[in-house]
Amino acid sequence: MTLSIDIRKRLSSQFALDVAFTAVPGVTNLFGASGSGKTTVLRCLAGLLRPDAGHVSIGDRLLFDSTASVDIPVQQRNVGYVFQQLALFPHLSIEQNIAYALHRRPRDEQRQRVNDIAGSFHIQHLLDRMPGQVSGGERQRAALARALVSDPSLLLLDEPLSALDHAIQARIMEDLRAWNEAHRIPVLYVTHSHREVFGLGERVVVLERGRVLATGSPHEVLDHPSHVVLANLAGFENVFDATVTDRHEQAGTMQCRLDDSNTDLEVPLTDASVGAAVRLAIRAGDILIANQEPRGLSARNVLHGRLADLTRQGPTVVAKVDAGVRLMVHLTPRGAESLGLRRGNHVWLIIKTYSCRIVVGGS
């Protein structure tokens, strides 16, 4: 079942939503700054907000079509929605919350389904508790279970995990992925955190001021050179897949070999084991550039390469350097001038260990 959406919605004189994309089964991140229209998209999909025009369908089931005057009411859409603040019913137990969508089904089936979904999200022992009596992570699990117990054809998540620490977030996402393996439905995960984009989704739809800026895998989307806005949104201009080659537990660092290259980088230690695949992200502004080999540095990563390109973009000079891999470096115009940088020059790149972020793999 594939979600297909193509809608327009004017919310104010300043803001109009105009988006079209599709989402196949699996997790798709809906990524953008706050105010870019992410939640509006979710509300239109759930039927909580009526688009001015367009259509929404899941598989061959039409949910909304302005030309055919189709607008399935919220209650009949069977779309799971996990709200940012979760919206668990505070006066009902976790069990009653989860069973809420099942009231038309026989008692036995209700019990069966509640137990199954509670098992999938590891909250069987919490069923008798009230939402106010469990931890933040457990509440997220309960909200997911409640949204999924009736086998929705689409799941919408509005930044429900953003308040949790990354380890708990990762475990909950693992449970959601496992559930999604067995129930192949599209999952739309709204986030404004670049970490979540790299970590949680197989695909990304990037929104900017109510429009789709880019779609694709996180890597594709961020490598696409024309999207300066996107790079700024994500905050990382350099993203690499790499493999852990060595761990220095005492020093709190580990060694990574960038895929398809001979380039090694020392990065902060995570729980990724040797041989594990990780994804690294480095801000272009966090890299220093030198026109001769530097000595007496505390920085552990010094890469030698050649300057492939040098362009000025407003107040920033963007240097592209081939150092086994292609790296993007930001420097000031005066900095670039004082080094006398020319295309083809030998340069050395200096990258502090803690400027390398592990965005996927380990925590």
């Binding site: 039927g47 919220v74 603040q85 019913f89 009736s150």
Partner: protein, 224 residues
Amino acid sequence: MDWQAIWLTVRLAAVVSAILLVISLPLAHWLTFSRRRWTFLIESLVSLPLVLPPTVLGFYLLMSMGARSPIGRAWESWTGHSLAFTFEGLVVASILYSMPFAVQPIAAAFAQVDPALREASATLGASGVRTFLRITLPLSIEGVIAGVVLSFAHTVGEFGVVLMVGGNLPGITRTVSIAIYDQVQALQYREATLTAFVMLVFAFVVLAAVYGLRRRPWSATPLA
């Protein structure tokens, strides 16, 4: 003690607050959640008795219950007697008079239920009625109880409207507040003192119950 008046007053207040509960739940729901622009007009209309002198309200009610008004004539042809100066007439008048005391706390309680909870209920397949019964109502129960208690108490305490619409017929329209007025007029101060004290204690107990239920001392009037 005028036991007849007390019994009449309790009966009147019970009937009125029961009917008001039935009217106020949908009305408060509509006032709180309707997106229509003119809801404020209905809100003002419902709240009129708060600011209008009871005699003014009573006067209009008396006129509309009279044989010359269409409502009065319709009632008379249906029941065979006039609405004015009867228990039924008193009930109708009290409903209008006490309506803001039921509608306002209930509407305020509905409004503070997180809208996301109602939306979540809808996405989980619940109809509007189910959402109301399972989510909105249980989460506003304090406000609903406050509305019932206050409309009961307010009906017990009304005077001007009763005098205008009901007059002073023992066992039919003579309520406690009218009885006290009578006793004072007849210089029966001992009787009046006792009856007035009963009313005072009653009013205090009711307010204590409402405030106690809210557990937010002096945060607002019982209506807010």
